[in-house]
Every structure is written in structure tokens, then in C-alpha cells.
């Protein structure tokens, strides 16, 4: 009976733990974090990363907060990661739940910034806000400005923020700095933010470049029909 009781209780705890381990999309993990499931086994919730963060960015989740209790996180809109070059939070971790292999903070992937609301972003409205672009620690790399015709005025350009997932560390400075009442650019967990091509997909133009020649010989190149009376080309 004792064993049954203990098993029931333990099972209940497990059910609760697995249910309560979902992360809300706004909560980000410190740099070097292992994938979430491994992290929830590896982190002993000691808070040494929190203590060694010189900017008080990190906090341990309290009971009742929607992050796994006792684990470190930060909310970019409140305080972003300052991307310290010596990465003190990772060095402080005794278990390696924050991976000590991470030695260059630019390789951190805490999340991925996404310009999630093009309807309110000032640059998309045709203004030159650029604050997220300017504040990005990897200025000109993680966020680039892509020029686009402004159809409203007819004569101006729009400078559209474009986040590049190969370089964005997810530090959250852009989200923290966004001048709107509610940020138009947000850092999301990478799993939420990224799509993925079908595994069997091959991009023809890349394959062609790799092969140095057309992948299929003797394809008949038919003339392309151009729009609006452009004729044939």
C-alpha cells in the first residue's frame, strides 16, 4: 500500500511537472541554454546565473509564474540581455545547463526577433524610426534595412527592418527599445519563429550552383510571358 501511495503521489507530481513546464512565448532563457527539455533536467535552479548577471536581467521563476518554477528567464520587453563578451551567466552555471561550449556571445541563440506587426511598425508606415536597427548589438547584420517603394506617397522609399536568423542572437534589445506602446518587433522562441523547408526540398538554383551546371541537360528554354503587354522575352 505504501508503494502504491508513493507511486500515485509521484505520478501526480510528474503529471503536474510535465504540464507546468511549458514556456510562455515572452519568456526567454539565458545565453547558451540547452534545448528546453534537456535544460529542465539539467538546471538545478540555484540562481547562480541570476547572481552573476551584471545587469539584473535574469530572474528565477517564482511559484505561480508561468515559467517552470525556479528556472532562470528574462522578459525582453522589460530588460534585455546585454550580451556581455565574457558571458558571466554561462560561466556561473555549475551543471552546464547553460552550455560552457558557448564562448562567443554572438553565437548565442536565446530566441529570434520577428517584426511581428507590420501594421504598426513606423518604418513600415513609411517613417524613419530605425530604433531597433540602431540599437541592435549586431548592427547591420542581425537587422538589415531593405528598401521598398512607398506606394502611399509615390515618391519615397520605405526602409523595412528584416531580421536575419543566421545572426540574430535573440538578446531582445530591439523589443525592449521599440518606441511603440506595444512592441512591433518581438523576440520569440526559435521554434515558434522559424519555419522549416520540407527535408526533401532542394533549391534548384543552389543545386545548380553546386553542380556548376544545369541539373537536367537539354531543357528547352521556352520564352517567358511578361506582364502588362511586355511581350515575350
Amino acid at each position: 500500500m505504501t508503494a502504491c501511495g508513493a507511486a500515485l503521489f509521484g505520478g501526480g507530481v510528474t503529471l503536474y511537472a510535465t504540464n507546468a513546464s511549458a514556456m510562455p512565448a515572452q519568456a526567454l532563457r539565458p545565453p547558451g541554454v540547452l534545448d528546453e527539455e534537456t535544460f529542465l533536467g539539467a538546471c538545478v535552479r540555484c540562481g547562480l546565473c541570476v547572481r552573476d548577471c551584471p545587469y539584473d536581467t535574469l530572474d528565477l521563476a517564482r511559484v505561480g509564474e508561468p515559467v517552470a518554477v525556479g528556472t532562470p528567464y528574462f522578459i525582453a520587453r522589460q530588460v534585455a540581455c546585454e550580451m556581455c563578451e565574457d558571458i558571466p551567466c554561462v560561466k556561473a552555471c555549475p551543471t552546464g545547463a547553460l552550455d560552457p561550449e558557448l564562448t562567443d556571445i554572438d553565437d548565442a541563440r536565446m530566441g529570434l526577433a520577428v517584426l511581428i506587426d507590420q501594421e504598426t511598425c513606423l518604418n513600415f508606415l513609411g517613417l524613419r524610426c530605425d530604433v531597433c536597427y540602431q540599437i541592435c548589438p549586431l548592427i547591420g547584420e542581425a537587422i538589415t534595412l531593405e528598401l521598398d517603394h512607398n506606394d502611399r506617397t509615390g515618391v519615397h522609399a520605405r526602409f523595412l527592418h528584416t531580421v536575419n536568423s543566421e545572426t540574430c542572437t535573440g538578446c531582445g534589445k530591439c523589443e525592449a527599445a521599440c518606441v511603440l506602446d506595444v512592441a512591433a518587433i518581438k523576440v520569440l522562441p526559435i521554434t515558434l519563429a522559424k519555419g522549416q523547408l520540407g527535408r526533401h526540398y532542394r533549391l534548384g538554383w543552389e543545386e545548380q550552383e553546386k553542380a556548376g551546371k544545369p541539373l537536367l541537360e537539354n531543357i528547352i528554354d521556352l520564352p517567358d510571358r511578361m506582364p502588362a503587354g511586355g511581350g515575350l522575352q
Binding site: 507530481v13 510535465t18 527539455e37 538545478v44 547562480l48 517564482r62 511559484v63 552546464g96
Partner: protein
């Protein structure tokens, strides 16, 4: 041979240690004096000495993640220490939940409550086993979602949230449901430390057990009274005078309350009765 003397020495020293250790942890966040950083799960003393809780390390390892050297070293230091002073000395002298459950025990006695549930004292080992299996299956340290020990300590240092609900539950469980229910029957963390304590050096001894006048005070105050019986009542070739039960918390309360001064701290060695003179 009844002597009047101060009957609170070890209890006082124990409370002083519990509060002192908590104080050291709180000095950092409250006064900016960083003698200890982190919490009982894992911490760094004077920016040099790493200490990691063996139960936490056990869970982490079972989850499938091999911890870094710092945590392994920290656990080795902690384990060595408790092998010396008694595994469950952690429970009696360090764990903050002990203050909560001791308070429940005190209040229960004051109010004359007689909780009726009598869970087996082996429940904790079954629970420990279940949790380790679940941790291995899920890959996450499931107990840390509810562990009142880490919750209380972390709560005091890093912010409480609703952790008080869990602690209130433990308090009420001990007060109304089962006498010494949490620490002496259920806590899997204490169970882990008790396994460490199976071979630990420092022990309470009843070398003067011949003087025992069966007043039963030691049994009344002891959180794990089953450990006293063999050492106190053994005779001849029976059990020696050392309390070897792995669940003894080395709290020393029996030493305090015994008017006959039967008990004292010693080592586990020489566990044979000297021929009485």
C-alpha cells in the same frame, strides 16, 4: 542522579545554525555582502568553494544530463561533509523546512492534537524511487516543481511567489494529518541524505544506557524515535550503544531532554558495551 541543567543546548545550537546559514545566504541579496551565492541546491562560497546538493545532482544525472565538473566537485564536498557529520544532519541542522515542521510538531503538542494517519516510514524511499524513475522517463527533474525544501530556501532568497501555499500544506499535513508526517515519512530529499547517513561517523551514543529510568522523554521529542530503541535498550550481546539508524538527524534533542544524561555525541566506532564496573 537527576541534575538540574539547561535542557535546550542542542536545540539552541541547531536553531542558531539553521538561522545562521539562512542568514549567510540572505546577506548577499539584502546587504550586498556575498559570502554565499546561490541557494541550497547549488552555491558558491566566497567565490571559490562550490557546494551542490546530492539529491539535486542525483535528479539531474538521472534525467540524462551529466553535470559539469563544478557540480560534481560541489557534490563530492557536500557528501564528504555529511559522511562525517551524519547524513540527515542536513535535515536537522540546515534544511529550512525543519523549522516549519518543528513548529507544527510544537503546536500539535500544545493543542494536544492526535493526527490519525500513520504513513509508513518507508514511504519516502518508495517516493524517492518513483521520482527517480519518472525523472528518467520524462528527462525533467519532476520533483523540483513541488520540492518544498528548495522552494522555501529559494523563495526566501530569490522571491517567494505562491511557494507559501506548498509550505502551508506541509505545515498543516504535519499538524493535522500525520505526526512528523513530512520530514520523517515522505521527504525524498531526507531519504537521500539518510542513505548517505547509513555509514556516517558522528553519532549520538547511549553509553550510559544503564542509567535510563524509562521516562520516555527522548522518545517523545525524537522525530525518528525508532532509531533510539536498539541503542538504548540493547543489552549484553545485543545492539551496541551507538544510534546507528540512518534516519537519526543528529539533532541532539534526546541529549537535551534526558535527565539521566544517558546520551552524548560521539562516533560510530567502538559500538560494544564496556564491561560495566
Amino acid at each position: 542522579m537527576v541534575r538540574s541543567r539547561w535542557r535546550w543546548k542542542w536545540l539552541f545550537l541547531r536553531r542558531l545554525t539553521q538561522v545562521g546559514i539562512l542568514g549567510l545566504f540572505l546577506l548577499g541579496p539584502m546587504a550586498g555582502i556575498w559570502i554565499v551565492k546561490g541557494n541550497l541546491s547549488s552555491n558558491l562560497v566566497l567565490d571559490l568553494l562550490p557546494l551542490t546538493d546530492p539529491f539535486l545532482l542525483l535528479q539531474t544525472t538521472v534525467s540524462g544530463h551529466l553535470p559539469e565538473t563544478t557540480a560534481l566537485l560541489g557534490t563530492a564536498i557536500v557528501v564528504t561533509f555529511y559522511l562525517l557529520v551524519g547524513g540527515r544532519a542536513f535535515c536537522g541542522w540546515v534544511c529550512p523546512v525543519n523549522i516549519v515542521t518543528d513548529a507544527a510538531a510544537w503546536l500539535r503538542e500544545m493543542l494536544g492534537l492526535r493526527p490519525r494517519a500513520r504513513p509508513s516510514r518507508t514511504t519516502r524511499y518508495w517516493l524517492l524511487g518513483t521520482l527517480l524513475i519518472m525523472t528518467a522517463l520524462t528527462g525533467i527533474t519532476v520533483w523540483e516543481w513541488v520540492n518544498p525544501v528548495s522552494m522555501l530556501h529559494r523563495g526566501l532568497i530569490f522571491g517567494f511567489g505562491f511557494a507559501w501555499v506548498v509550505l502551508l500544506a506541509v505545515f498543516l499535513f504535519d499538524l493535522l494529518v500525520a505526526q512528523r508526517g513530512w520530514c520523517s515519512h515522505l521527504c525524498p530529499m531526507g531519504a537521500t541524505y539518510s542513505l548517505l547517513g547509513a555509514g556516517s561517523i558522528i553519532r549520538v551514543r547511549a553509553d550510559d544506557r544503564a542509567r535510563c529510568d524509562d521516562c520516555m522523554e527522548c522518545f517523545r521529542v525524537c522525530p525518528e524515535p525508532q532509531v533510539i530503541q536498539p541503542a538504548l535498550k540493547g543489552t549484553g550481546d545485543g545492539p551496541g550503544p551507538v544510534i546507528t539508524g540512518m534516519n537519526c538527524t543528529n539533532c541532539g534533542r534526546c541529549i537535551d531532554v534526558c535527565d539521566q544524561i544517558v546520551f552524548h555525541f560521539g562516533t560510530r566506532f567502538h559500538n560494544k558495551m564496556e564491561a560495566s564496573s
